[in-house]
Amino acid sequence: MFAYCTDPASLDGLAWLACYLTTGKHMAFYASFGTVMLLLAITAPTALLFGFGGAVAARARFLPLRMLGKTYIAIVRSVPDIAFFLFFVIALDQGLEYLRLLALCPDWDQPVRQGNDFVVCSAAKLPSNSAPQWVHEVYGFLLAMFTFAIVFGAFAANVLFGAMMAVPRAQIETAEAYGMTRAQTFRRILVPQMWVYALPGLSNLWMVLVKATPLLFLLGVEDIVYWARELGGSVTPRFSDYPHGDWRVWYFLALLVFYLLLTRVSEIVLERLMKRLTFGQATTGGMAA
């Protein structure tokens, strides 16, 4: 980074620190904060979408759809997210490759499972073996995002389901009295009104999602926790220009500050949103002293 960094062993104090904190490894560490924020920014709306789908399915009149929605909510909510992450991503990846195998290699005659191996034709590999590394990373990131969305979608579905039930009956009845169809009532009355009931639940869910991001490293994404462990561990002079002892405390302290800040900012934003949503509405949120 800096010109004087060519021989770190001769440096000390701030100059050494400046060089140390700008190594390629540290740059990757800083970039991973972006990864986490990006994941949060994409996952939250996707999970909300899954949750909406799940909630609508769970209150559908068509029985199999209702069962499907309820099972999704019940099962995914019951299983610890960590256990889910440990096998689901590989299953998802294999599922996608199997679909591609069916689509791209119609004359493939070998079994897909050969002993322990999962084998598909090379065209069906996802991403293709010769794809540059960043494509693999983006793919891994998308898988992680999708998995997060499925897990948190179930929780969001539970919240939205409750919120839909919480919209006062009278509102629905009035809509029916005006001759709105079920779909119209849903679109014009239920959905706009449910958000205020859903927001406390959804904001808590957001807090839980923020704190679940350290699990990213289980999904093969090199996130802040991965780099903090990697950088904090002691290194001997043989393998690095910047040998140091066990510095994990400092890196984890930095993570702690990051998470506390993120939580504080979220709290403030969500509080404002709640004030706006409850403005003029006769709910407890609006009236709470």
Partner: protein, 243 residues
């Protein structure tokens, strides 16, 4: 929800096809990147170490384009058999258990002994609290020792830390991993004799991928023949035996 699935699938199908046309002989090598001197991340965050140099040379000799990928140790074999990379080069000892699931190349190191490291010179490791990384052959070994108490940690770093702070009396790990640490810290020292566990270290392949294994076996053999493998071992594993 269904449209999302279809859209994702379409996207997935699309990205793959765009790259399928490029050169086909890329081999992806999976490693842990946290096991110096075999493999670790250098200051620039690149995979480095004994296996990086060896792997690059093997790929050059086998005329393959190689790409390094890091993966968590716990899931390194499931990801190989699932096809996320084509070979493992991660300081992995050849054991019967692993051999049932994947195929190994010929070993590229002699069996690497494990050693105990402790802050005390006179500790009786047979009746001590011994730290090891969970899921390693060392953890399995300590678990089967009658008098010793096994303490498992998730990372190799933590096992050494446990000895420094007195939680464990000694740590059992690969000699090549522990020696650089012992040389650097005066309070740590090797106790007892070397423990021989597992075979040498080899590359791991899918059992259905015999062709690739043969290519690398030929390359390993040629490096053994012209002495370049021994030169690498002497450079990176000063305590290791040569071929």
């Amino acid at each position: 929800m269904k449209t999302i699935l279809t859209a994702t699938a379409a996207l997935a199908l699309g990205t793959g096809m765009a790259f399928a046309a490029e050169h086909s002989e890329t081999v992806r090598l999976g490693t842990e990147g946290a096991y110096a001197p075999y493999n670790f991340l250098d200051d620039n965050g690149e995979v480095a170490g004994f296996e990086r140099q060896l792997g690059d040379e093997l790929c050059a000799r086998a005329e393959l384009t190689c790409e390094w990928v890091t993966n968590d140790w716990d899931s390194i074999i499931p990801n190989l058999v699932s096809g996320n990379y084509d070979a493992i080069m991660a300081g992995m000892s050849i054991t019967d258990e692993r051999d049932e699931v994947i195929d190994f190349s010929d070993p590229y190191t002699q069996p690497d002994p494990s050693v105990y490291v402790s802050t005390m010179d006179d500790v009786d490791v047979e009746n001590a609290v011994v730290a090891a990384q969970s899921g390693t052959i060392q953890a399995g070994h300590v678990a089967s020792m009658e008098g010793a108490t096994l303490v498992e940690f998730a990372t190799p770093e933590e096992t050494v830390a446990a000895v420094r702070n007195g939680e464990a009396d000694a740590v059992l790990a690969d000699k090549a991993f522990l020696m650089p640490i012992v040389e650097n810290e005066s309070e740590l020292s090797v106790v007892g004799d070397d423990v021989l566990l597992g075979g040498g270290i080899g590359m791991g392949f899918r059992e259905s991928d015999g062709e690739l294994r043969e290519k690398f076996n030929a390359a390993i053999q040629s490096m053994k023949d012209d002495g370049s493998l021994n030169a690498l071992i002497e450079e990176w594993l000063p305590d290791g035996a040569t071929f």
